[in-house]
């Protein structure tokens, strides 16, 4: 049951004025000496009763509305349907290669970035309820689009990433910017960072701590779609040799992501088919509805009161226009 509050409760002291129509001196009456003669003419009293009740309700509405009633803020359990997904896309120069590790420079075969773009656009088309944001990163991150439901804009933004990539794969600032996208947004669905990259990079320990803190504060799920060259290391089946952070940063990145304390999955894609499969898996994972509490702001009720007073007042006005004010006197 919502609680009702009043912004100016002092007005309510005027509420006894609503009984004015029922007081005897409030009636305008015409003196008429010959009521005894009118016994043959049918008498009705309901219009007068109705008029009094309407006037009383009208005054009550006005006074109550003047005191600005509002429904206090309330928490409502909601079931979030759409996820908030920030596509964090690697835009480094290595994305211009195809899955075999060859650089075509925009030739007939599909580059990794083109395949990712195509599949992401299909993914976006299939999820009408979700909000999407786009962050691209190479050496430095770029916020392409904040969270929005405008599918045209998102598809255009993802399509614009087809420009030739450049620079290095610098994951940490990209992730930080993707996390910033969620800050200040209401939590109405699961939050997902879909990281699409073809490699990893070393992240400083203090940056790692900060990112972990942000992931936990903002409750963001992380899905990493790792577009692996056939020659690259596999994070799911790490080679049995001794690895260093410079030779195989992806493995260490994977290990770091596992310590984030938020749901995390990694998908390795070695060709467009497996990339499609990875994205389909993300889709099934993020279809779950998310129960959450939404805090509704207080709602001002006085416009409804004034509206009701208007609805009551217009017939009262016409009623008053029908009143006969002079007869005998």
């Amino acid at each position: 049951m919502p609680e009702i509050g009043f912004a100016h409760p002092l007005w309510l002291f005027l509420l006894p004025l609503a009984t004015l129509p029922y007081l005897p001196f409030a009636r305008r009456q015409l003196p008429y000496p010959a009521l005894a003669v009118l016994t043959g003419i049918a008498s009705t009293t309901w219009p007068e009763k109705l008029h009094k009740a309407c006037s009383c309700a009208f005054l009550s509405c006005l006074i109550v509305s003047a005191s600005c009633p509002f429904v206090k803020e309330q928490k409502v359990a909601r079931l979030g349907q759409g996820a908030h997904i920030v596509l964090t896309i690697d835009h480094s120069s290595s994305m211009n290669e195809n899955f075999s590790g060859r650089y075509f420079g925009g030739s007939a075969h599909e580059t990794k970035s083109a395949a990712a773009r195509r599949l992401l656009i299909e993914f976006i088309r299939r999820r009408p309820k979700d909000l999407f944001g786009v962050v691209a990163f190479s050496t430095a991150p770029r916020q392409v689009l904040p969270l929005t439901a405008d599918k045209e804009a998102i598809i255009a933004a993802v399509g614009a990433l087809g420009m030739r990539g450049r620079g290095l794969t610098n994951i940490a600032p990209g992730l930080a910017m993707a996390l910033e996208t969620f800050r200040g947004q209401p939590l109405t669905g699961s939050r997902v960072i879909l990281l699409v990259s073809d490699g990893g990079a070393r992240i400083d320990p203090d940056v790692q701590d900060r990112l972990r803190q942000d992931f936990q504060d903002l409750a963001v799920n992380l899905y990493w779609v790792y577009l692996r060259n056939p020659s690259g290391v596999s994070v799911l089946n790490p080679p049995k040799r001794r690895l260093s952070e410079t030779s195989a940063p992806e493995i260490f990145l994977h290990q770091y992501f596992q310590t984030l304390g938020v749901p995390y999955r990694v998908f390795e894609a070695e060709n467009p088919q497996s990339l499609a499969q990875a994205i389909a898996t993300v889709e099934t994972l993020e279809n779950r509805p998310l129960p959450y509490f939404e805090t509704l702001p207080r709602r001002d009720l006085s416009p409804y009161g004034f509206g009701l007073a208007l609805i009551l007042g217009v017939p009262l006005l016409s009623w008053a226009a029908l009143e006969i004010e002079r007869w005998l006197a």
Binding site: R27, P31, Y32, A34, V37, T44, E323
Partner: protein, 275 residues
């Protein structure tokens, strides 16, 4: 000053000479019969013709009825309903006309103004200036309360049969009118109904009015339409017929004054009712 002529269908018993036929034998022009000179020793009225015809040889004298005066009384309803519209003015004109006519005819005049009790009383008297005084006094009159005091005026009216003008608007139940007329039965009552045509000429438009009776405080909600004037007029028409039928049973039909008082109409009324 307005005046009218009035006459009565009955004989006065007042010994004072006046204008009306009476049962008192005395100096007059109306022949009553013969009596013996022994009984009425007035040789001036000796009737030789009758004396010669008398089988007993007695001297006969003629007897005449004198004309006597009658008391004129006005019982005026000063209740709240009489204070509306032009009624006070009509009432004062009418009362003044009666007072002045009584003076001119040579009759005694008395006035009783009544609402809940008797609020204005002029006992029977000959007075020339009473008409003027009443005229000014009644326009201001204390028009308030109910008409119930009229049922209690009996003891103030005197024992002689009087011509009594009962002035009211008769806007109360017919049973009450009947009770009133019953109590005033010893007198010759002329009911004068003061009505205003505006009482049934409602504003000719759609609307409603909350009416209250200033006497009883009864309230009534009334829908008005352009056709309701006819309905109201019909109600008043019925009322008029009922009043006429009722008052006829107690002697005279009522005299209606609507909006304007014409003294000549009152004269005509007396000519019609006392043929």
């Amino acid at each position: 000053m307005e005046e009218f002529h009035y006459r009565i269908p009955w004989r006065s018993r007042n010994v004072h000479p006046g204008h009306h036929r009476s049962q008192i034998q005395g100096v007059g022009l109306e022949f009553r019969g013969h009596a013996t000179l022994i009984d009425y020793p007035d040789p001036r009225k000796l009737d030789i013709h009758a004396s010669l015809h008398d089988p007993f040889g007695q001297h006969k004298v003629k007897l005449f009825s004198q004309t006597s005066l009658i008391p004129i009384l006005v019982v005026a309803d000063l209740s709240a309903s009489m204070g509306l519209g032009t009624k006070p003015k009509l009432l004062s004109r009418l009362a003044a006309a009666i007072a002045y006519s009584a003076y001119r005819t040579g009759d005694l005049f008395g006035f009783l103004g009544v609402n809940d009790r008797i609020v204005l009383q002029y006992p029977l008297r000959f007075s020339k200036c009473l008409a003027l005084e009443l005229k000014h006094r009644l326009e201001k009159g204390p028009f308030q309360g109910k008409h119930l005091g009229m049922l209690r005026v009996g003891p103030y009216l005197g024992r002689q049969r009087a011509l009594l003008f009962l002035i009211s608007d008769f806007h109360f139940a017919l049973t009450e009118v009947e009770a009133l007329l019953t109590r005033l039965k010893p007198h010759d009552v002329v009911p004068v109904a003061l009505w205003m045509s505006r009482e049934w000429q409602a504003p000719a438009r759609w609307g409603w009015a909350k009416l209250y009776d200033p006497e009883t405080g009864h309230r009534r909600f009334l829908w008005l339409s352009p056709s309701s004037q006819a309905k109201l007029a019909c109600a008043f028409c019925n009322r008029r017929e009922q009043l006429i039928a009722l008052c006829r049973r107690y002697g005279r039909p009522p005299f209606f004054i609507e909006d304007e008082f014409y003294p000549e109409k009152l004269t005509q009324y007396f000519l019609e009712t006392c043929a």
